[in-house]
């Protein structure tokens, strides 16, 4: 196999990491909404935790994307 082709396949595979990030972010916002619907008065106080969780989850997906970019352009 040519090195160039293997590079593109590897970059594509590395992007699978984003599946987990997508599922995680969906789970965070979904659970937040479910909780907020049950107890709307407590929702406001948890918004910081929501955004914190979002940022932490999103970062794990970006690690994968980073590897993909490094393979492609590094």
């Amino acid at each position: 196999m040519e090195v160039e082709a293997a590079k593109y396949i590897g970059a594509g595979l590395a992007c699978i990491a984003l599946v987990g990030a997508g599922a995680g972010i969906g789970s965070i916002f979904g659970n937040y909404l479910a909780g907020a619907m049950r107890n709307p008065s407590a929702a406001e106080g948890q918004r910081t935790n929501l955004l914190l969780g979002f940022a932490l989850t999103e970062a794990t997906g970006l690690f994968g994307l980073l590897i993909a970019l490094l393979i492609l352009f590094g």
Binding site: L51, F54, A55, E58, A59, L62, F63, L66, L69, F73
Partner: protein, 241 residues
């Protein structure tokens, strides 16, 4: 299409070499100076005319200060209040570096791992030193979860040690990966705008939306970096249970 990583290239502006080390004044240094000037400027304007009813700049400075103080006290306790100035400095530097990087033709200081890793390592070393000063050798107890049977400890202690020492790496990679991935994404989409001609309006709308998301991420990542250092500081100040 131009290489989307080209924007992260470091170009020496004033070449300098001392004792075999390249310490040139680069474009990264220029933007660092810009960021520091902005941070100092905001705070200077904020405290120039102190009044009971805050003006616009004082309001901004108070908002930033109170956010960091509240975060620090809620995650590391009241005795962490003396660390507010350093935390505010870290937060302001990262926040402004991220935001300044979103301005077209500028340079994102935090998109280089060396910058974020240096900041994370300084914070991490300081926390280890503070931990040993506050708790003495008892600081090492944080690697030993209490109430765990001894056979389990053989497994748990190495995990705890690794997860402790990996902290500066995850902290710095998180910030740097977010900044780099965001900017590369914007540049890749910008390439589509040109190559699609008239239909380039579609990715253009995408870029506008994504820039808004990037502003949110810039603020969030600065906050996350600060909050995580606060949480780690809590381990150093209070004995582990």
């Amino acid at each position: 299409m131009a290489n989307p990583l080209q924007q992260f290239e470091i170009v020496p502006k004033i070449p300098l070499e001392v004792g075999g080390y390249d310490i040139s004044f680069t474009n990264s240094s220029i933007w660092m100076v810009v960021v520091l000037t902005l941070a100092a400027g905001i705070m200077f304007l904020g405290v120039r005319k102190m009044s009971l009813v805050p003006g616009r700049w004082q309001n901004l400075a108070e908002l930033l200060y109170e956010t960091i103080e509240e975060t620090l006290v809620s995650s590391a306790g009241a005795e962490a209040r003396k660390f507010v100035p350093i935390m505010l400095t870290v937060f302001l530097f990262i926040l402004l570096a991220n935001l300044v990087g979103l301005v077209p033709y500028s340079f994102t200081v935090t998109s280089h791992i060396i910058v974020t890793l240096a900041m994370a390592l300084v914070g991490f070393s300081a926390i280890v030193i503070i931990g040993f000063i506050k708790q003495g050798p008892g600081f090492l107890k944080m690697f030993m979860p209490s109430g765990v049977p001894i056979p389990m400890l053989i497994l748990l202690v190495p995990i705890e040690i690794v997860s402790f020492f990996i902290r500066p790496i995850t902290l710095s990679v998180r910030l740097f990966a977010n900044m780099m991935a965001g900017h590369v994404l914007l540049k890749v989409f910008a390439g589509f705008v040109i190559s699609l001609g008239v239909f380039g309006i579609v990715p253009l709308i995408g870029i506008v939306a994504m820039t808004a998301l990037e502003v949110l991420i810039a603020v969030l990542q600065a906050y996350v970096f600060t909050v995580l250092i606060c949480v780690y500081l809590n381990d150093a100040l209070h004995a582990h249970h």
